[in-house]
Amino acid sequence: MQFHRFCLLTFSAAFGLTFPLPAQDSLRVSGSTTLNPVVSEAVEVLRNEKGLRITIDTAGGSTGGINALGDGRADVAMSSRSIQERDRDKFPSVKYHSVPIGQDAVSLVVSADVWNGGVKNLSGSQIRDLYEGRLKNWKEVGGPDRRVVFLNREPGRGEWEVFTKFLYPDRNKPPMTSHPMVGSNEETRNKTGGTRGAITFLSTPWADGKKVFALGLELPDGNVVEANGANIASGQYPMSRPLFVITDGEPAGAAATLIDYLLAEPGQQLVSKHGYLRLDEVQ
């Protein structure tokens, strides 16, 4: 007799907890690991000060966040790339409302042995050869005699979109390549730093000059432009991208509160704190 009572109790306990309580909406934020540090801290403040319920997830990167927004699985998408045609094609009923909250750049970074071996900048065509696997040894670009290990970013990452757009501005889809994959900015930095002859592309503030080193870009006219604040702000460094917070239609409610916070001084300070450019620094 005790048994079925026990089971009944356990079973109903777990489920009974939920039904009487009204469902409270929380704001679902999803997307890029580049924006995550900034938005996470902003959300913490809002949660403590205003009691807002906001959840953040970074699975799938920028594209994952945009997809989630399109599917209705997220209310706010964080993206380190802008909305493309294919996003609109995929979700035709979604009215993407993108709000830039800062600016960031994507740098080519290499491991210590490549940097110390003499490779300090690369041209667009050299990068293309590296990406497509035609350049296999660093000595071909003035570096050490070492095999090139190109670490590619997962396809959903904003950095990947910006990088491929830079290399292949006229093509809709970049060519198929075969490289080992890394995911988030941190994993990229760790794995690149720990592999000899490695090159990858990374959000600029993450290139710490200790584990990985940011290369300059040799422009077609021969000038070499470094990925520093001034060059990114002025637009001289080509691989720069605004950091977006995106909603479906005009932001309202908690989403609006979050976006307003990010655009205001405290939010902009967070942007700066994590190494990105504030809106007022971008020209």
Partner: protein, 287 residues
Amino acid sequence: MTGSRKFIRWLLPTLGLVSALVVAVVVIFIVTVLLQRGTSSVSIHFLTTDTRGAGSEGGIFYQILGTCILIGSALAVAVPPALAISLVRSVFLQPHTRLGKALDLILHLLNGIPAIVFGILGLLIFSKLFGWGKSWLAGGILLGVMILPTLTVALIERLAAVPRAYIEAATGLGLTRGQIILAIWLPQSSGGLITGSLLGLARAAGETAPILFVTAVFSGATVPTGIVDNPLLALPYHIFVLAQDSFHEGARANLWGAALVLVTLITVLNLAALPLRFRLHEESRHA
């Protein structure tokens, strides 16, 4: 004795010893690493504060809470079917029927389904079909199905081990089958239910793949207040994300602390099941 026989006589236990030493080294390494890197960050404060700074500061309170909610609901989901299936297998079916063996095979297969397939199925059913978004209940149900075989098999073994003498005596006294189940079979196998539950909870606590798509978020979730769009934080997912994403060195300590807490939780649950398991194992060998 010939030389080669002496050699074999020496070789076999030596190889065995070497193998056992390999196992010992691995175990010692894992335990040492966890303790060395984790204990510095684990404290009462750590266990009761929520995470700040995207994992680099604060504690893991809501992750622990989320894990507890998950394993609790997994148990609640798994117990009723486990009781039903084990009663059918051990009591209502004759021991060596084809149906019984088919049931054994099904349980065996269910136990071996990879966790990631559960995750994909969860995405399919709870997210795509039901539209629940990320929900704690989806994770609870998935984990419940995953640990169902553990509970069921433990119950089946215990039910089968109830001495025939008891059943014969009860039948002789005029008790009906239903009465015998309630008065003898189930109470006698309560040990099996408890053991199976503890082992199941231990397994559910450590699973990452099932909750990857339909339950866990990295930050922001506290206590669920409904079913739809009510995700959880969970220890395994927290560790998984931080292992790739730790934003700076502070997060590293937090990460190992979380790992230590998770392994401790699982070990405690497994240890709690141990005395019962030894007693059951010995009894079944002598039966």
